[in-house]
Symmetry: C5
């Protein structure tokens, strides 16, 4: 579905144009065309391929979707794939934004992305001095928007981790913790798969051998790169911490179990002693003088209580109870 | 076994030719010969070696088989080894495709591969504008076919992992889970051994110092490289997740065990108390006034039940039962 | 908040100047201006941006804060972000120092940093031969001060680790140890996030392609780099040791538990034997000759004590008790 | 001990020569001398050092032995150290082969190697067209022979791993498995120490800046390199699998233990119930009407059996028994 | 403290000279001065700084000590820091050797090192042909001496590891093993911190861009580098093995515990059966015909023994006892 198709010159909007006019406008020097598509039908892409003379392999990738983030040069044009990661309640929703860009055009194709990029266009049009840097600034603005949307996801992951950490040393929460840690790890991997390849790719847009039309906006791409590194660093920390937390959780399970065992042992000991003594006085020997004593019974029971009490005191003191 | 032996010129099939004619056809400018062998006998390879003037070491490798994926330059020709990984029910079936390729010929040797590459030839012949790029396009088409067949394997591994994940927090399934995780890890390693060295090798066919006759098809090889990176990334995620899942599984075992222990401890306590009390009233002291009471027995039993009930309530409340 | 704003020439302080005069002074050859801000309001930064012609993206970063440590070139100027890590009791307090620096100016912006950098200025002014190296020496002095403040933090972490190590093989301290190890790991990660990216960044200020005005102070930046490597090495060791300590702690839990189990088993065996024997002599058969013996009772009890004593001796010898 | 000392020219054996004649023969253009020593006495090496003008440090290394595999250039000559790994029953036997090689000589020194390299010389002499490539071909042939002998070791390690894997999920074999896994890991490390540094070293003999006299045999060294990579890959897989297997083994121990615990708990529960009931009917209250019933006893015993049976059925159903 | 201060020319000792004469001697072409200090007072270093014109930052580092091993270039001179690791009974004693070296001088400063380097000087003076290579040979000789002293430490660590390995599968030694493994790991880290950075540093003294006056001694530094790599490889193996050993130890704890549990379960079952039967015959029902039988008692006891014996046999057979 076509969202918009606009021609710009020297940072200002010339006019909305028809798809058929694209190939004419991209001939005008200093002019570039910015087209936005959403979940395009195959024939829409074919039209674009013709208007912009896009490379077959790039168009194929955009059609099939589910690409890993990358930036590929085809002659003087770039084919950029980035992944959007949006929060959908507790879940992560992954979409894809494909951008075909050259000196004189930007074609963005969004697939499975909930929140659009109209705001990016509006902001760009409000700042003609930046938009006059040309199509590479639009590329930057789109990538920057995608990356900015990663930050709330990272925040969510970090706050989820903190919630788990608050409960990690609380006995009885281990089963829940381990489930949540596993789920968190899964989400971290999802975000990481969006960020890590993009980090490599964006690194090629500044500093070294940069495509010609991106030369003036290098510092902007470095900024995107820097944001991605921050996110990547945060993800590494979360991953590392999850790993440690899983180990710690296992330790806590073992420690708790050890304490239950000790308690079991202590009570078992106390009752085993009582039962053994009771058993002895329940034997049927004819000659058991204690059994005949007037105060034999209370003495016996008192003795049992005393022994049990002593054991209880000892276990209490050594921390088993 | 010879499958076919065809000469092509400017993207079109000239004719099927005899093996003996190969050395003549590869002299014709703009013409290339594409030969396909299957589990060749040593002497078949020797004939090919003579017709194509192949390097002794490369032929030796093709004969012995079980090579790791690689791309080696011998003068102006390349020797390419890739591994096929096919699904055979639940099992992975690993085969090998060796490709000798130069400006004027492609010789593919397939060993232990179930599904052939006739479709690749058919598709190439249907698109003369692509086939006219020459032997390097054939090389691309073969590699692309091999890599495309990895995707269903990755899908199978991912869905197997998901099935295990669905059961990972279910008590009692740990023994089964660990066996399946171990088996899954084994399969991941098999695929990884096909993919990882090929990733390194294909990287040499685009971007940097590329062999002359592959210059025009660089973007195609980059596409193969990109597919391999996606697969590799997916494998890394599966490996990472298996590692975590094994740890989590161990934690779940420990947690389950801890709960069994608690339950055991609770019931043991309840019965130990009853037994101890019964033991006391089974003692044979002459002077145990309770024993003479009319309602001594029901009171005693009632007391036992009450204590047992109280313990049961306490254990229930604290989650031990 | 403006802290100071001073012009220097040939290593000597010219005079305190007003903010408005900055743009004049930075025109004077051989003169540089050193401005220090603390938690600046947005408009303070805007003024600075105009006076020094700072790049928009750098100013934005300084305003938003929470950047990862980095050194970015904008034309002939550098934008440096470093993190301060201060001890606040047991906790780590993380702040940020942003430095805009070029041949003719240094602008430092400190955010969330408790201890100021006045000492750096005082020391620099006391050593004119060093200050005469220009703004890059000021940059070095500031970074050196930040890095020097990491050392007490590393010392604290190392001594905390030693304290835990002293208790790691002491039975009963495992729960406490694991909590402290987890907390320590968290702190190590905090410091590491300040150090590791700075290490990469400072590496660009010596040895290779160094910004022009830093050429003469390369050896000083190498010194900072070397300090950072020492800290990084120390952190790696702590991390590695924490990992091992967590594993060891789990082993200690298991060993302790095993010993408790053995003890439980031993006592259970002793009392089970006594109870079984007592049970036998408590049976109500008519014909149990031992029950009629004069010394049956003492013999029985003696036998029980003997068996129990023998078991006790055996268990003691084999280390179970 | 001198094994042989032969001069070759244009791929053909000239004659066996005396040690004293070496320095003469290596002056003849197109001629090279191939000397083989076994566990040489210090003075034998000293003679060789003089005849070939070997570098003092290289000779020292050869004398002391226990070097790590390496290839060092001394001017126009190479000093190569490789380790042989031979199967000696179940054990690995590690030896060392030091090779001094230049355009006009090859001196091989074998230490602690059971199986000699006479076959290498015989094969080389049988293929004059290869031997005519000169001393670098001899170097290749020796290294190839050493590397070929690694393969059976790898096969042995892999088959040992498979044997362990077959038993890893069998209850009761864990102690044995862990011992064998540990032993296997040790052997893998031994082989790895032979392979990994050699991999780095051989990498320098092809592709990049290659010593002059090895230029024509590059493709052969690449072949050795490729074999080493295969071995290294196989070792990595074994290591990785051992790591997982150790984890899995621990899980299996825990799972088995959990099942024993459950069984223990189940039987304990059944007998505890019986004992408690028996204890109750063993109490000595005067007024226990059941005791007087004609069928009290069979009813009581029947009740006990019924309860025990019910528990047994329940435990059986829930998989505890 | 000054140890010696000697001038050398063409590999021969000229004479012991006074500190004040240093600056004169280092002017003489082909002459170099070798000064050795031990735990120098600050003013001793200041004198040296003046005589040799040392760089302020290097002197500061030498004064403060506790540097990480490194080699820094200051103009035409080098500042080298290496760590000595000496055995002090079971403990490791870490010291530091700082070396300032240029074409015409060597100044070695030893701190906290027990065993001196007089032997190095004696040996150097005995071999004038080597000493005539100049100050870089002295640098090599000092570094070689330091590295040679690492070998006995590595041997000690390896033999300690072997001792632990001998006991790792012996039941009951786990607590001791884990303590020793932890301690061993600590020592490995100490040595590693001396070796790893030195490895990086020494790598810069051969092969690539080497400081001018070290050009002729490159092969010597490569030898040191090679020794360091051997040590580093050995340390990696020890670390890897310790990691596995800790895991194995945990498994052994779990296996031992499992066996204790089984034994406990078996004995508990045997006695529980006996107690339950005894309890049944201890019931006070009026009508229990067995109790009246003449041989009731021996039959009952016999039955109990038979059941217990059967259970014992079963448990023995299944390996629980």
């Amino acid at each position: 579905m076509l969202i918009n198709c606009v021609a710009y010159q020297e940072g200002k909007k010339l006019s909305d144009i028809t798809v058929e006019a694209i190939s004419d406008y991209i001939q005008i020097p200093g002019c570039f065309v910015w087209v936005a598509l959403r979940e395009p039908a195959p024939d829409e892409l074919t039209v674009m391929q013709e208007e912009f003379s896009l490379h077959e392999l790039a168009v194929e990738d955009a059609q099939r979707g589910h690409q890993r983030p990358k930036i590929e040069e085809y002659g003087d044009s770039l084919f950029v794939v980035v992944r959007t990661v949006e929060l959908d309640g507790e879940e992560l929703h992954v979409g894809e934004l494909d951008i075909f860009v050259a000196d004189n055009y930007v074609l963005s194709v969004r697939n499975n992305v909930n929140r659009g990029f109209l705001g990016v266009r509006a902001r760009a049009e409000r700042e003609p001095q930046l938009l006059s840097k040309g199509s590479s600034f639009v590329l930057y603005a789109l990538m920057d928007a995608v990356v900015d949307r990663y930050f709330p996801v990272v925040d969510m992951l970090e706050s989820e981790l903190e919630k788990i950490e608050d409960r990690i040393f609380i006995a009885g929460s281990q089963r829940d913790n381990i489930e949540r840690l596993y789920e968190l790890k899964r989400k971290v991997l999802v975000l990481r798969h969006a960020v890590a390849p993009m980090l490599d790719a964006v690194g090629k847009l500044h500093g070294g051998r940069v495509p010609g039309f991106c030369w003036d906006t290098q510092e902007y791409f470095r900024d995107v790169h820097d944001h991605l590194q921050r996110i990547n660093g945060a993800l590494d920390t979360i991953r590392d911490t999850i790993g440690t937390a899983i180990q710690v959780n296992l330790s806590m399970v073992a420690i708790d179990e050890g304490e239950v065992n000790k308690r079991l042992a202590a009570w078992a000991a106390i009752f085993a002693v009582v039962t053994a003594f009771a058993g002895i006085y329940g034997m049927n020997f004819d000659h058991m003088p204690e059994l005949r004593w007037r105060y034999g019974y209370p003495i016996a029971v008192g003795g049992m209580v005393a022994v049990a009490g002593y054991l209880y005191y000892r276990f209490k003191k050594s921390g088993w109870l």
